[in-house]
């Protein structure tokens, strides 16, 4: 029988069927960070359980770390305590930790791929909803809660019901100035913020195939923003070329064996999906969000909807009121106060290159504060090696040290109440970037152009 990519990977990881139609699913890689792991370690402690497979876990500190002066002790006492707790737990249980100051530290979904830990055909979990990022490699990767973090620590397994399968096919070529971020913002705007709840999504089609690995990560990263359990893309030569030679990737004979297996990982031709959607890449324009969930997105030169179904009106108007926008309005010309380039969605070297390429020889608008937070120490070093830090500094952009930063504002990187921020991150929820902050999600290119212009513009007229 024809099988989907998702089912091939899932079935290879079923330890056994469990009561009630659930499966015991084996987890190959478990990534942990300081925010969602301490209570899970406590759970092991309380139940006197050992950590079952420490070698399958990797830890880093990212959510709660400062992005300036990382060589100094963390000033904020609660953040410091949480990071210290992670360090102590990792030492006690023998877990590899790439902590603050380590050359491999960074956002958990940036370092997994760059270290070659993220491999096709694997199952990957983390106590973070953007674990879907790793699906870009043809892995079944998804976010879990802290109780499940404890389960994986204790048994390397989870008890799961198999989600439904959805395929989203995007064919054709993306227009100039349209990036992977616009592609996924467009899809989420079409399907809505709960449009894929209960599904695992496979992205397919020529527009998806033509994306770089970093672009594919951006797409899979935001799968959760339409409610999907995860998103994945069949591995191909682009995937193999990216993975080969990375520190944790298989080597020599094991590499050959791995690639031979990975080449079998695709959805068979006659696979029947529980839901299918098709989009034309040429119909996608540079996108921006206007509301307080990622499904509230429009083309930059479009208008906020005037009409919504009656059942959604109260939530919709509450959202617009929070943002200070009106129904039917265009966003063009709106003044912006902050630009944040970072997060597990868009903080990789290609993102920084795209920003640097645009701002070279230009200046950010005087009233805009422009912050760039690289996804990892390696991304930061690469940017410096390429001289991007100088280009960015000359244009008035501040290149910080790696972490999740103003994506969720757990550290001191917050957007003030009422201020508008064009952000390359993944969520525009109320208060996401700090109490009262107003977030407009967009691509790194849109963010860079906005920073220079100081307001929202139709970027197609400003491309270099």
């Amino acid at each position: 029988m024809a099988k989907s990519l998702f089912d091939k990977i899932w079935e290879a990881h079923v330890v056994k069927a469990a009561p009630g139609g659930l499966d015991i699913v084996y987890i190959d890689r478990h990534l942990i960070h300081e925010v969602t792991s301490p209570q899970a370690f406590d759970e092991l402690e309380a139940r006197e359980l050992p950590l079952f497979r420490p070698s399958r876990i990797l830890a880093t500190a990212d959510h709660n770390v400062p992005t300036r002066n990382q060589h100094l002790p963390i000033e904020e006492p609660l953040s410091r305590s949480q990071v210290d707790t992670l360090t102590a737990n990792c030492a006690k249980y023998g877990v590899e930790l790439y902590g603050l100051g380590h050359q491999r530290q960074g956002i958990v979904h940036v370092i997994g791929p760059e270290l070659g830990l993220t491999l096709p055909g694997t199952t990957i979990v983390c106590g973070d909803s953007h674990t879907s990022t790793h699906g870009a490699f043809g892995a079944v990767a998804f976010g879990i809660g802290t109780s499940q973090v404890a389960q994986v620590m204790a048994t390397q397994c989870l008890l799961l019901s198999r989600p439904k399968r959805m395929r989203i096919t995007v064919d054709g070529a993306l227009r100039p100035g349209v990036t992977a971020k616009d592609l996924i913002l467009y899809i989420i705007a079409q399907l809505g913020t709960g449009g894929a709840t209960g599904y695992f999504v496979e992205y397919a089609g020529s527009a998806v195939r033509s994306l770089s690995m970093e672009g594919r990560m951006t797409v899979c990263n935001m799968s959760i923003e339409m409610g999907a359990r995860g998103g994945l893309i069949a591995p191909d030569e682009t995937t193999f070329a990216y993975v080969q030679g990375r520190p944790y990737a298989p080597k020599e004979a094991a590499w050959e064996q791995a690639v031979a297996y990975w080449q079998t990982l695709y959805s068979d031709e006659d696979t029947v999906f529980d839901a299918e959607h098709r989009f034309d890449a040429a119909a996608i324009a540079p996108m921006i969000t206007y509301g307080t969930n990622p499904g509230m997105g429009i083309a930059l030169n479009g208008h906020i909807p005037s009409e919504v179904p009656a059942s959604e009106a109260e939530s919709f108007d509450k959202s617009l009121q929070y943002m200070g926008f009106q129904r039917g309005e265009s966003l063009l010309g709106k003044q912006i106060d902050y630009v944040f380039i970072g997060s597990c969605t868009n903080s990789r070297i290609e993102d920084l290159r795209a920003v640097a390429a645009y701002v070279q020889g230009k200046q950010k608008a005087r009233h805009v504060e422009a912050i760039i937070v690289p996804g990892s120490k390696q991304v930061e070093q690469q940017a410096r090696a390429e001289g991007l830090d100088k280009i960015l500094a000359d244009a008035g952009f501040e290149l910080r040290e790696p972490g999740c930063s103003a994506c969720l504002a757990m550290n001191e990187d917050k957007i003030p109440a009422g201020a508008y921020c064009v952000a390359t991150s993944n969520r525009n929820f109320e208060g996401r970037q700090g109490p009262g902050s107003r977030t407009l999600l967009a691509s790194p290119l849109v963010a860079a152009i906005t920073a220079v212009q100081g307001k929202i513009v139709d970027i197609t007229q400003y491309l270099n």
Partner: protein, 198 residues
């Protein structure tokens, strides 16, 4: 995990759609390393002014409404995987959230916390909001064994679905971890039989 008993309670209505976990518990409160105490900051930015005083127009601050049931608009719990959202609701005294749609990760986290995500249809949800609007003190009976939500005042009964395994876990206070630990021999056998090891 505590056992879920049959619940008799009024409901607190929050008729907004797509309530995300950043609203349920904002990220800045996730710095604790224990599970307790999150209830104080439940819906903090909707519930309190920046100076910490309560906003009188938010439903949790409205003395007319109380109870262990939260009645919420569809797609409740979308966004972040933070289990702290379920802990905050539980810590604040809620034992049931009723909505017409739950985000997947939140649903799992709630069940692992002993908080029942009770899913009804859009029409049923609208009816429940109307009942509470009519009478803030209207009582509901959640019978998990029978999988029913009963309104004694009107005689209405809504049946709800729940995974049979998860139902037994809630009724008996069992965690997945107990079951998984009991399966370690099968897990070790699986590891040994794998043809690849990366």
């Amino acid at each position: 995990m505590e056992k879920f008993q049959t619940l008799y309670s009024a409901a607190v209505p929050l008729p907004l759609e797509n309530i995300d976990t950043d609203q349920i518990i904002p990220a800045r409160f996730l710095k604790a390393t224990t599970r307790e105490g999150f209830g104080e900051n439940l819906f903090c930015d909707w519930r309190r002014n920046p100076d910490g005083s309560f906003k009188p127009d938010f439903v949790l601050n409205d003395p007319r409404f109380s109870g262990q049931i939260l009645l919420a608009g569809k797609n409740f719990g979308c966004g972040s995987s933070r289990e702290h959202a379920a802990w905050a609701l539980y810590d604040a005294g809620f034992r049931v959230v009723i909505s017409s749609y739950f985000a997947d990760i939140f649903r799992g986290n709630a069940l692992n916390t002993g908080l029942l995500p009770l899913q009804v249809s859009d029409a049923e949800l609208a009816r429940l909001f109307a009942l509470v609007e009519e009478d803030a003190h209207v009582q509901f009976v959640v019978n998990l064994r029978e999988q029913t939500l009963h309104v004694p005042a009107t005689g209405e009964v809504i049946r709800f679905d729940l995974d049979p395994y998860k139902k037994e876990c809630l009724i008996n206070g069992y965690d997945d971890i107990d079951y998984l630990v009991s399966q370690k021999p099968a897990i070790e056998a699986y590891e040994q039989n794998r043809t690849w090891s990366w």
